[in-house]
């Protein structure tokens, strides 16, 4: 039977990166406009869709950097 390692923690400076995809989509002045359009999409739409990629990137980095050694 294993005992949980006492030095374990879920804190890490990398966790701060998670704030980026939380704050970005909640600032409408960053994306609430029509021009410039991308592939016909107004800024409001293509910018918010591209925030999805920002979210994926940030969570992936945090996951990679906080993996427990094994």
């Amino acid at each position: 039977m294993t005992t949980p390692d006492k030095g374990r923690t879920d804190r890490s400076p990398w966790n701060r990166l998670l704030a980026v995809p939380i704050i970005l989509p909640l600032l409408p002045f960053l994306f609430n406009f029509d021009e410039p359009r991308l592939l016909g999409f107004p800024g409001f739409y293509w910018l918010q869709l591209s925030f999805i990629a920002v979210g994926v990137l940030c969570t992936t980095v945090v996951y990679r950097m906080t993996r427990r050694g094994r």
Binding site: M1, T3, P4, K6, R8, T9, P25, L27, P28, Y63
Partner: protein, 529 residues
């Protein structure tokens, strides 16, 4: 013969295939014994990254969403797009929180969020409140899944309630038999169908309609021509605060729903959850594209059947796709309703079994008895949801679901904050919960819609002018109620400490929140002793 014959044949064939899979699922990853909540209700807590991805994706992005979000964009424009920021924000917010919930549940064998609250705050009463809140919030959500199926059936010219009753009877039967394994297996088919349909739709439809530019411009022209002040393809100043508070509030509420927790606890280890928090946004991209089907419907000049805006997407497919592919698309929506409905009924049943039945009725219930009670309750929950649709107006289910989102948010201090700190006193949390519930109800009661003439419960956008502020801005009622909840919980805790009210025991230890697969579980420890 019906002009929709091909669609009906394809739809029925796919629906029956998937139902067959639901029954076979009981044998998938077959355990020695299905008669425990760990097995029936959580699939053996053994799902890896892929299964979890399909399961949680199929669970959170429901058929109703796929039908209702485009309908929102079709009707009001940009405000309906909140579903995208909502599902972006939610994963980084819950990333660390869910890991702690998974670990502590792994150590203690918790099946529901209320189980955790019971152990953390030593209060069966608080756990009961959390459980009841979860059940009440989930019921109308299940009912809304039926609305998704209904919209599809209506578009195929199928009327009457019998087909829905049959579909639900089949769903109830295989959920009863296979438990969480059924939706987990079906989710593969459902999500593959949805991805194919939507990818084809977003490539083919814009080509037919003259490109994305044309689609957005016709939406713009439509909203410019209406007298309503709140619509348009961009947010106006009055609706920006509502947009972001609704996105944030919904994001906070999402993983408080019992069915989301069920999906998370079925994962094998912490890494599975972490990987999924990065990979689940693929569904958000899908949802964003689906939302835009609403604008495509505008450009194609689609009209809903009667006054039911939810038929917009089915009508769009019917007009622009060949019959057989429309059948596939309808099946994707129909099956898309089954996965979440099954998980939701399992989650609600588990809450009843663990936090009401075992707590108050049969404290000595063993594993097999728990599984049996949950199976029967899952049937009753589905009958209840079906009655909601058959006896009540559909609009009423939508109101209930709106209320559901606001009330589930009131469990945040006990469940989510409780995972980080034991500072709150159980009496403070109970008082805060009550204050949040009452505030939420009062706020929603005061939301009217001047356009439709509906005086109460007409949405979640509470006008700040009603609080005496000189502004046209509106805010999501759930977040306001949560603020009141937190303030009362804070004050209540301080008072409880001052009068030295007895506090409950905390059965958890700090290292329980960091445990992983392979670490000892309390149940095993007891067996050793």
């Amino acid at each position: 013969m019906s002009e929709h014959l091909t669609e009906i044949v394809v739809f029925t064939a796919l629906f029956l295939t998937v139902s067959g899979m639901g029954f076979v699922a009981a044998r998938w990853r077959r355990p020695a014994d299905l008669a425990s909540l760990d097995e029936w209700g959580l699939g053996g807590r053994s799902f890896g990254s892929w299964v979890t991805w399909f399961l949680i994706g199929g669970d959170l992005y429901t058929a109703y969403t796929f039908v209702a979000v485009p309908a929102l964009l079709w009707g009001a424009g940009a405000t309906g797009f909140f579903a995208v920021p909502y599902t972006i924000v939610t994963y980084p917010i819950v990333f660390l929180v869910l890991l702690r919930l998974w670990s502590v549940s792994h150590v203690h064998g918790f099946v529901t969020p209320a189980d955790f609250v019971r152990a953390r705050f030593g209060s069966p009463t608080l756990a009961l409140l959390i459980a009841v809140t979860g059940i009440v919030a989930t019921m109308p959500y299940i009912a809304l899944q039926l609305v998704g199926i209904e919209a599809v059936l209506k578009s195929m010219g199928v009327t009457g309630h019998l087909p829905i009753v049959i579909a639900f009877a089949i769903l109830a039967a295989y959920t009863y038999q296979s438990g969480l394994r059924a939706p987990a297996l079906i989710a593969f088919v459902k999500d593959t169908l949805i991805y194919v349909v939507i990818l084809v739709a977003v490539i083919v439809i814009p080509l037919k309609l003259g490109g994305w530019d044309t689609i957005f411009d016709s939406a713009k022209a439509k909203f410019a021509a209406t007298p309503a002040p709140g619509d348009g393809i961009l947010l106006n100043t009055g609706s920006q605060l509502q947009y972001i508070t609704l996105a944030l509030g919904s994001a906070l509420a999402l993983f408080l729903y019992p069915h989301s927790v069920t999906g998370v606890l079925a994962a094998r280890n912490r890494d599975v959850i972490k990987r999924n928090m990065s990979a689940l946004p693929a569904y958000s991209l899908l949802l964003g594209l689906i939302a835009l089907l609403g604008y495509m419907a505008i450009a194609a000049g689609i009209k809903p059947i009667g006054t039911d805006n939810n038929t917009i997407v089915p009508q769009l497919f019917d007009r622009l796709f060949p019959d057989w592919f429309t059948g596939v698309a309808y099946a994707a929506i129909g099956i898309g309703a089954l996965v979440p409905a099954a998980i939701m009924s399992i989650a609600a049943a588990n809450l009843f079994t663990r936090n009401i039945y075992r707590e108050y009725l049969r404290p000595n219930a063993g594993d097999a008895e728990e599984a049996r009670v949950s199976k029967i309750t899952s049937l009753l929950v589905k009958v209840g949801a079906l009655l909601c649709i058959l006896l009540l107006d559909t609009g009423f289910s939508i109101d209930l679901q709106l209320i559901g989102g606001v009330i589930i948010l009131q469990t945040l201090p006990s469940v989510a904050i409780g995972l980080y700190t034991r500072w709150f006193h159980r009496a403070g949390l109970i008082a805060g919960w009550a204050a949040g519930m009452v505030t939420g109800m009062i706020l929603l009661y005061n939301v009217g819609n001047p356009v439709t003439g509906k005086p109460h419960f007409a949405g979640s956008a509470f006008p700040l002018s009603k609080l005496g502020l000189d502004t046209k801005m509106t805010v999501y009622a759930g977040l306001l109620a949560l603020a009141v909840n937190l303030a009362v919980a804070l004050l209540g805790t301080v008072i409880a400490r001052l009068v030295k009210a007895t506090d409950g025991d905390d059965a958890t230890r700090p290292d329980h929140y960091l445990a992983d697969e392979g670490d000892s579980r309390l149940k095993d420890l007891h067996l050793v002793q």
